[in-house]
């Protein structure tokens, strides 16, 4: 696992996609930090920076994960990975954590913002902690979905667009009940699946077990599915 982790993490910087994703996260969160907090003199990070990070995560992470398995398939390097005496779970987790580490490096810029605010006033640290946890769980979920989709295709573009489509679906899922006359079961289902509602409760400092379990379960599910797709080659 560690060999794959190190290789993939380095690869984010030899192919400039890692730099690009970091630049996007830094630039837009910085812009929102400046306009919502510094210029407006407002101490709350939730509404400006973190709601922007929600959007950036959904839109940028697909480009982080698009390469992970599709490129191996295309360059046939998967023949080295899958014929090595390494378990599939190790391969999948290695790639997952490489992307997650890069993502954490991206979102940890908000620590700088929190420190800047702490210099001026006392921020609500619990809310900031809730925000971190929320954005981390959200990122992990999109990474696991992206990883899964990249095993299905040889094309990085299809992997990126496929993941992006799911991201957009997660963003727009909340409007479905009103389109269907707010039928009770649909409302319940959408409330359960609504990533933005669950994320919003983190940003207000509300850390609930069922939200954490929701994100953790779906991450585990997609990682499991990724392993299954790779394993299928060996069985079918």
């Amino acid at each position: 696992m560690s060999a794959i982790f190190r290789r993939e993490f380095r690869a984010f910087f030899t192919n400039p996609i890692g730099y690009v994703v970091l630049a996007v996260i830094y630039a837009f969160s910085g812009l929102y930090f400046f306009s919502y907090n510094l210029a407006a003199g407002y101490a709350d990070l939730s509404n400006g920076v973190f709601s922007m990070l929600f959007l950036i995560t959904l839109l940028a992470v697909p480009f982080l994960t698009m390469r992970l398995f599709s490129e191996d398939k295309k360059q046939k390097t998967d023949q080295a990975l899958l014929t090595a005496p390494t378990g599939l779970t190790g391969i999948v987790l290695g790639k997952f954590f490489a992307a997650l580490l890069l993502y954490i490096i991206g979102i940890s810029i908000t620590l700088v913002y929190a420190i800047i605010i702490a210099l001026q006033t006392t921020p609500d640290w619990l809310v900031i902690f809730g925000n971190y946890l929320g954005i981390l769980l959200l990122g992990g979920l999109i990474i696991s979905i992206g990883l899964f989709i990249s095993t299905l295709t040889e094309s990085q573009i299809i992997a990126a667009l496929g993941t992006l489509a799911i991201s957009l679906l997660l963003m727009s899922i909340d409007m479905i009940p009103s389109l269907l006359n707010n039928a009770a079961w649909i409302t319940t289902a959408v409330e359960f699946l609504s990533v933005s509602t669950r994320y919003a409760s983190f940003t207000s400092g509300l850390i609930q077990y069922d939200d954490i379990i929701f994100f953790a379960t779906f991450q585990a599910l997609f990682l499991f599915l990724t392993v299954r797709v790779l394993d299928r080659k060996r069985w079918s």
């Binding site: 030899t14 360059q75 390097t77 998967d78 014929t83 060996r234």
Partner: protein
């Protein structure tokens, strides 16, 4: 060392590998020979656990590739048809990565340095793989297969893309590796297989059509021996005369380059030796025999014989 039993791989209705079984003993170099699309690479991919088989079993050093994949794979060094190289890494980074991936327990620096020396890639060690020539990429791919000193080496067309000098070097290398490793090597280049391998398995349309040593294969086929002769005489009459010799089955007239002579291919019945008869009869007619040669089938003829034509197999 390697045991393959009733291996079949179907893609939909197409049968890429059709019920093949063979066994390779420790220290043997097995040549896998067949035309393009015969199922060589598919078989190798199944042996290494990259692809599944539709049915049948593969056992490497006592470990089933499906039931104990990690134990079986730890015994194999694999060079696929297209070397599995990460183009964005340097040779050093890549070999380090493969060393870790294979969970190799040997001393890292010494082991990788040895392999680089054997493969002659020391001077490209710090270069990005994407900037290497095809020959060097192939060598790096081979180096990767040697990491961890696995007892079984599976090499899919290892000399593709190399220049003639390199081909000779790699063949010599494979031969020397065969002293301590079990090697399966695929190729459609016959002299290569003939030069390197102890044993040859010919595969065509997913089926094994021959499995023997190179010498035995030639011997088996040289029974239908042919005689090629050149005679200073009229073509048609000479052919008729030769055809009347007992033991001759078929005479065909070949194009002759020399004026006033004719060239004939004579197929002789099994065990018959017509050379003395031929000489006396021709000398009676005063048509001098200028040239005569028995043509035993070369491996190349055998290969064509086995893989082209309808019945395919050894009769």
């Amino acid at each position: 060392m390697i045991e393959v039993k009733n291996l079949t791989k179907r893609y939909g209705t197409h049968c890429a590998v059709d019920n093949i079984s063979f066994q390779v003993d420790a220290g043997q170099i097995l040549g896998f020979l067949g035309p393009n699309g015969a199922g060589k690479s598919t078989t190798m991919n199944i042996l290494t656990g990259y692809l599944s088989a539709t049915s049948g079993t593969v056992t490497i050093n006592g470990h089933d590739i499906l039931d104990e994949p990690n134990e079986a794979k730890a015994n194999i060094g694999y060079l696929p048809e297209q070397p599995p190289l990460y183009l964005d890494m340097t040779v050093r980074e890549y070999l380090d990565f493969m060393f870790d991936l294979k969970k190799c327990a040997l001393p890292r620096k010494k082991h990788i340095a040895e392999i680089c020396k054997v493969m002659k890639i020391e001077h490209v060690y710090g270069r990005l793989i994407k900037n290497l020539s095809k020959g060097y990429k192939q060598r790096v791919g081979m180096a990767q297969a040697l990491i961890g000193n696995p007892p079984v080496l599976i090499l899919d067309e290892p000399t593709v893309g190399l220049d003639p000098n390199q081909i000779i070097e790699i063949r010599a290398l494979i031969k020397s590796l065969g002293k301590h490793h079990t090697v399966i090597l695929s190729s459609h280049i016959l002299p290569e297989i003939e030069a390197v391998c102890d044993r040859i398995v010919v595969i065509n349309e997913g089926k094994i059509v021959a499995d023997d040593t190179a010498a035995n294969l030639s011997a088996k086929f040289s029974e239908d021996s042919r005689l090629q002769i050149t005679v200073a005489g009229p073509a048609k009459e000479t052919a008729e005369l030769v055809a009347s010799i007992p033991g001759v089955e078929k005479v065909s007239i070949l194009a002759s380059k020399e004026v006033g002579t004719c060239a004939l291919a004579v197929e002789v019945a099994e065990g018959a030796d017509i050379r003395r008869d031929l000489f006396t009869r021709l000398s009676q007619k005063n048509w001098p025999l200028l040239y005569s040669k028995t043509t035993a089938m070369s491996l190349e003829d055998i290969f064509i014989n086995l893989t082209v034509g309808q019945n395919g197999g050894i009769k």
